[in-house]
Assembly symmetry: C2
Homo-oligomer: 462 residues x 2
């Protein structure tokens, strides 16, 4: 690096309010990583809390002038290390830019700063009878900016799609400090390239997102729920395919393998049969009679597919009870040891093979692996459980984690369905995308960030 750190810090402070630039090494270290374990963390130069777009512009101008890397970050709830510090970087934290700027019910859209938590935005629009569907499990502590940067999913994607499907427009501060506006406030629009969706999922490598315009839906109806128990994962997997082809689009379609089911049984006395090898959960929020007829159809399909037990919840509260097991899988697995949550997505028909091959990985590495996930999308979170204090087990866990991604690629899937590549999954990206695609990625990156100062070393090597 050319300029001494003090020069950069002085230049940052010169254009920011007192206290915005933090150099206390403990505080900076505390902001230097997201929730990803066993992922490289560098030593940042400073932490900046930005409160408005001109402050972000100032940071980018200073970073450009001195060619200093910038790592944009929100609530740091990520699971791939995309928000981790790199050596000598400025951590540009946006969690204080957390105001919902506008809710426009007649046009069914909302405008928010990036630091707003998903749950806060969701509740704010719900007060207007509106619905922001993307619902990552971390919704209470993840920010919309992070959701946009990784194109987050959740449980409702099987019916309602993922984050990118709801992003209408962005304000983005480019590497140069210029403010780019992409997209529009209209539902449709094809004027020029889809720059909005180029920034969605780009994990802070192309620009710093400072404002987000989101499309909303009318409030969904309370869902009805069906839970089905199976005596083999293969039968349950076929049942998922049967649901996908039955003509009903459920608003949720989740899968838990034996490890997950028995873990929640033990931890929370959920009362699933001790013989349960898999559980499939489905919901319908079609509304009124239609919810009832859809849930009955789903129950019939699951039963016909060979479920040993099918329970239909009579009301939303009972349904939430059935779902509780699914929601608590990770907590239950965490009681068994340290966990590494993978995030693969395969064609929906490959679920049985995925589960069986992960069982083989588990046997091979001698570690417990629970498979749980959004079966309706083919998106699973195999979770490796191990002793985090035992170096050798950590190595085995990391190998199992990588093996699971390789299996997903073998099955025609992807290494990440909704968590992103970050640092954690960079090693396998070329295998998924190929050399030419990576080359195109690098050309686009250079076109927008010629000095390579925006979150360098994330997603792909420069």
């Amino acid at each position: 690096m050319s300029a001494p750190p003090e020069t950069v810090i002085e230049a940052l402070a010169a254009g920011l309010p007192a206290g915005a630039v933090v150099t206390d090494s403990d505080v900076v270290a505390g902001y230097s990583m997201d929730r990803t374990m066993f992922c490289p963390v560098g030593k940042a130069l400073a932490l900046v809390h930005a409160r408005e777009t001109p402050q972000v512009q100032h940071v980018m101008r200073v970073a450009s002038e001195y060619a200093v890397p910038v790592v944009p970050q929100g609530a740091r709830s990520g699971l791939s290390g995309a928000a981790n510090a790199s050596d000598g970087c400025i951590l540009l934290n946006l969690e204080k830019m957390n105001r919902v700027l506008e809710i426009d019910p007649p046009n069914r859209l909302a405008v928010t700063q990036p630091g707003t938590f998903n749950a806060d935005l969701s509740r704010a629009v719900a007060e207007h009878g509106l619905f922001y569907p993307p619902d990552p499990s971390s919704w209470e502590f993840c920010s919309i900016g992070g959701n946009v940067s990784t194109n987050s999913g959740g449980l409702c994607c099987v019916k309602y799609g993922v984050t990118t499907d709801y992003v209408l427009a962005l304000e983005v501060v480019l590497a140069s400090g210029e403010v780019l506006r992409t997209g529009r406030r209209t539902v449709k629009g094809v004027a020029g390239y889809d720059l909005t969706r180029l920034f969605v999922g780009s994990e802070g490598t192309l620009g710093v997102i400072t404002e987000i315009t989101l499309l909303l839906r009318p409030a969904a109806e309370q869902p009805l729920t069906v839970a089905a128990v199976f005596d083999s994962a293969r039968t349950a997997a076929q049942a998922v395919t049967d649901v996908v082809t039955c003509g009903v689009v459920p608003s949720l379609l989740e899968f838990m393998d034996r490890v997950s089911v028995q873990a929640v049984n033990e931890a929370f006395s959920m009362g699933f049969s001790p013989d349960a090898e898999a559980v499939v959960l489905a919901q319908s929020d079609a509304g009124g009679d239609r919810s009832r007829s859809e849930i009955e159809r789903l129950a019939a399909v699951l039963e016909q597919a060979g479920a040993t037990e099918v329970a239909v919840a009579d009301d939303p509260a009972e349904g939430e009870l059935l779902l509780k097991g699914r929601r608590e899988v990770l907590t239950a697995l965490e009681r068994l040891g340290t966990t590494m949550i993978d995030d693969v997505c395969v064609p929906r028909t490959k679920l049985a093979e995925l589960v069986e091959r992960i069982e083989a990985v588990s046997a091979d590495c001698g570690l417990t692996i629970g498979v749980v996930g959004h079966a309706g999308d083919g998106n699973f979170h195999p979770t490796v459980v191990f002793d985090g204090q035992d170096r050798e087990q950590v190595e085995r866990a990391k190998r199992a984690f990588d093996d699971i991604m390789a299996i997903s690629l073998d099955l025609g899937g992807t290494i990440t369905g909704e968590h992103g590549v970050g640092v954690l999954k960079m090693g396998l990206l070329e295998r998924e995308l190929g050399q030419l695609s990576l080359d195109v990625h690098r050309r686009i990156k250079r076109a927008l960030d010629p000095q390579g100062i925006l979150n360098p070393g994330k997603i792909f090597t420069p």
Copy 2:
């Protein structure tokens, strides 16, 4: 240009089957334009009919070697001149690449070549109980490749979204002749940048799309229909807002102004009241009882909003009769003269203002303008009617056309909701996007097409 035309033509022919390269000037001229009127058309060097990806690669390699512009085109049903020849270009026509390569019902996806007509693909997947929603009015004679290149919409977008929402993966031949694969076969996936959606809507300026993987839905239910007549466009516009905020998402929500209604009345004796100032049509395909309750709710909302007449179709056939008027607007207007169809999209709450300001344009230029469109998305097709033989009227029509786009921008809208920019709307793009956005467009274009040979002079100037 450096190389003489004969050299380029010989090089093209050397790698292609006999007959693939056409130089007959009448045939070439016949392929030199889409359906856009009053739009510049250049003189092409040659026309190439490609039948497979390696042939497209050959064309791009030759074009790269000799720095010759290439204009990719499909069925040439476009309405912005994006497929029009530029001087000295190779017209790279893909209409013979029209095979549906795969339909995979359990994974609900289809793979097709770009030349397949939208209607053919839709019918092919319908045989498997599946549904490809995007339904541009030209669906019987537009190609999927063209739909992807312009991110086409249609009538069902209000519930089901537009083309880009259904594109999972692409095979694209780059300017260099290399074959890039983007996207995936899984429902979700966030590995790397969203290159797929960068190519969707790029109107042939970034690559030549040679294969498309599409997400499908289960077959929709037959819709029920409600038609409402209003004695003022402003009341009808408010009714549209009331529908958007009523909690029901209709599967179609269309608007016709007085000019459109009376034109179909005259042409086809549709029986709308001669006092009708506007008609709003809505459908529900929620299924079963739910369709019935939704359509009744929509009817009640329209009535409460002040409709002078509300008709609910008792069955799908009767509904199709109600829709016939909407479908025939363009044909009816064409009986009155030459037509230029605009394509603007405004925030849904701006419909009344749009109609009133277009009435002022009509009065001002002394030409009939019918406003019809996808009200649920705020996407309208104001259609200027004039005497195409009268130069002075043509000039007035073009001015009215541009005025309508400017009004859309004034109202916070876009110059194009689904037809694309092409050549026709280039002049106003900078006003919509701003100089910085155009600069980013150019940087991305250069990153992928450094010689600028892919459809140069479309969307924006180099």
